[in-house]
Amino acid sequence: MRWGVVLPVVGGALLAAGAGMLVCALVAAGYGDGGGLAFALPGSATAALGAAGLLLGRRLPSSPLRPRDGYFAVTAAWAASAAAGAIPLLAAATFAAPVDAFFESMSGFTGCGATLLDDVEAEPHAVLLWRSLMHWIGGVGIVLLVVAVAPATGLASQRLFFAESSSPTTERLTPRIADTAKIIWGVYLTLTVASCLALFAAGMRPFDAVNHAFAGIATGGFSTRTASIGAFDSLPIELVTIVVMALGGINMAFYWRAVHGDSLRPQLAEVRAYVLLLAGGTAVVAASVLIADDVSGLGTALREAAFSVVSMMTTTAFITGDFDAYNDFARLVIVSLTFIGACAGSTAGGMKVVRFLLLSRTAVQEVQRQLQPSAVQVLRLPGRVFAEDVRRTVLGFFFVYVSVWALGMLVMAAVGLDAVTAGSASAAALNLSGAGLEAVGATENFGAVPPAGRAALSLLMLIGRLEVFTVVALLTPAFWRRRWA
């Protein structure tokens, strides 16, 4: 491994996590409801370790980054952040078992939003803020933050950028990838501030507004209330939250292009399909609960369906009503939408709308090819032509993704969960939606999953966040074989 390039990345991520903990320590001091020391000490230690890694790494000879170094560095940075983020949760006595704290922390950084907490309101402000802050730091990518802020490492930055988000539409907005990373973080920061103000205007207390802005725009799902957004019982708050989540599900580069006056065409097809899927999903779910379930009136059905569909398809999992109490058709529609997820380059999980579009195109073309074998087929979306290796990558991605989900489901069943819970828990972790069906349903937490299962779900979250190949490559023997170096 080329430590000269791995260490600065891991160090940078730890530095970011440590800084976040120190912010929480300050908040704890302000509210005086505990957790101050629990955040101050690990925070300082993590930040110091991170800074050391950063400095040490820069003394080592920096060689060009190979793909494997990029994969390793990114995975290590995420794992290290999650491990560091678990420490204050243990120290503040939120969790007793390390695996639980790690689960919560991983769920935070990856933007999954699956929680093990029974009573959220009982936690001190610092812990609540830390959960939201983990979402936010992980949102558009912790390594992206390192690339944006740390002095340019040239080619290395590029490899890291693409190792963290392997989507088929990832593209540079500027000649230097570090500038692109800065732009993406700038857009993200702007959206966060705007969301925070909007939530405050809709009637949230400032502390809640900040937390839900972090968790909403990062499409995470941790709330400051056990009953999530439902606790506020306010239509304005629900509407603003829907918009915040939907905005978090759009490619950050898309906003930049819109503001900058660049052509939107390369991403327009995906955004259009995303909005149509949100609207279509809402209509279908609303209709089905009106027909099959005991819901009072069209307005309520639309309100509940819109929130559930947007929340789940953007893989946020804020909750207002219990969608797990709907009829089976509506429940399956909602879970299916989490597999599609939102746009590539957003903060959301799932397979991403653009991959879904490309897979659909490929399926149609494959049928046509049976009839017309010599026809030259071009993989295209309106305004954009994709090279043939994108088709191959997307097909491979789909197979690996589904395989990982199925394996996760088997592991969940093996540790004792029923079939529906096992399948939906695996999906909730891999798609980063953070809510499933039955025992891990909308109003439940993940307490029903035994410890071994919690560890497995943590791994699934990491795999899902880094879009499968990065982590799965690390798990293959070939990765570690020297002669492949």
């Binding site: 017309q372 010599s374 026809a375 030259v376 087929q377 071009v378 295209r380 032509v385």
Partner: protein, 408 residues
Amino acid sequence: MRALQPALDALVVTGNGASPRVLKDAGAKEADLLLAVTEIDEVNLLAAAAGHRLGVQRTLARVRDAEWFGGDQGFARDILGVDAVIDPEHATADDLAETLLLPGAVHVEHFAEGAITVAEIVIREHSPLAGVVVRERPEPVPYSIVGILRGGAVLVPTAGERVQPGDRVFAVASQEQIAQVVAFLDGAPEEVRDVVVLGGGRVGGHLAKRLAGRCDVRVLERDAERARLLAERVPQALILHEGDLSKEMLLAHGVDRAGAFVACAGDDRTNLLATLHAKQLGARLCLAVVTREQYVPLVDALGVDGAFSLRLTTAEAILRFVRVDTVRAMHLTISGAEVLDLNADPGSAIVGARAEPAGRLSGCEVGAILRDGRVLIPAAGERIQAGDRVLLFRRRGTAARVEHAFDA
């Protein structure tokens, strides 16, 4: 060079045509005209630019990719020093498209800024013109017959000439009425709904782009990379990657039921063979692009409905550029006919002459006159006025001095 010299009454110089030194040695300083028409865009542009700097009066460059000057003629002229840009492949594709979109015609050319159209039509037994004397032809709308192609020879018809089945006639009418005229003369015109194009090169590519959306286009291309490129650029057309030409392959892609077949694969022999196959299989309208003069006699023998020559298209563009004063446009057919679009200058010898094949216009047929923005099919006794745009038809090599009569 050794091959060229005896065939040309011109001085042949060997060297890099884009080199300022070679150009200077060749006498660029005193030259009126520089034509850069090699196969390579960059060389042509460089040569034209160099010639312009050296003092050549006017320059012309053959440029296939308009991206070189961003499609902006002003940029080409002012910055690059290229007075005229020609793209024969593109022009040929346009001609092919015009022909396919005019049911009944096998060749179409526009003149006088598009106001007047000349169409070549094959006369079959059921045509209302078959067996009819030219002077007594039925005329649902005004049109003129300026030439007949019979047995490979062009003739300017005398008034008593009888049109025979198998003849090809050149009909002239205003652009608005040409479709009606062609449909009438053909007798049973059928709109082309699906086209099979052999060859996805420059001509085939432009053609597919022109036709896409208007009719069903299938392009057969041998080269995988080129096929892919074309499929990316023209999403509405079906691009098929196919190996060698064979009857079976053509049959598999429905050439037998195709409304039209166009061979533009870049090789004359392939094109002619493919057209022969297509005709035998039953494709209705078969068009072919040929480059070499030596294959031209085969065109008729093989049953090709219309042949398009890149070389003649290039020549037309160059001639139009060279004789810019009175000759506004010209069209050369493979069969050896010429159509000229001339401006009757005030004070020129032609003003006042009768618009008929006698006197100053002997050997020529006047197809139409554009006068005050209106297209006029000349009746007997019509005289040419100053400022008229006159469309003339003649056999190549005859009435060579007629242009001078239009010059003031």
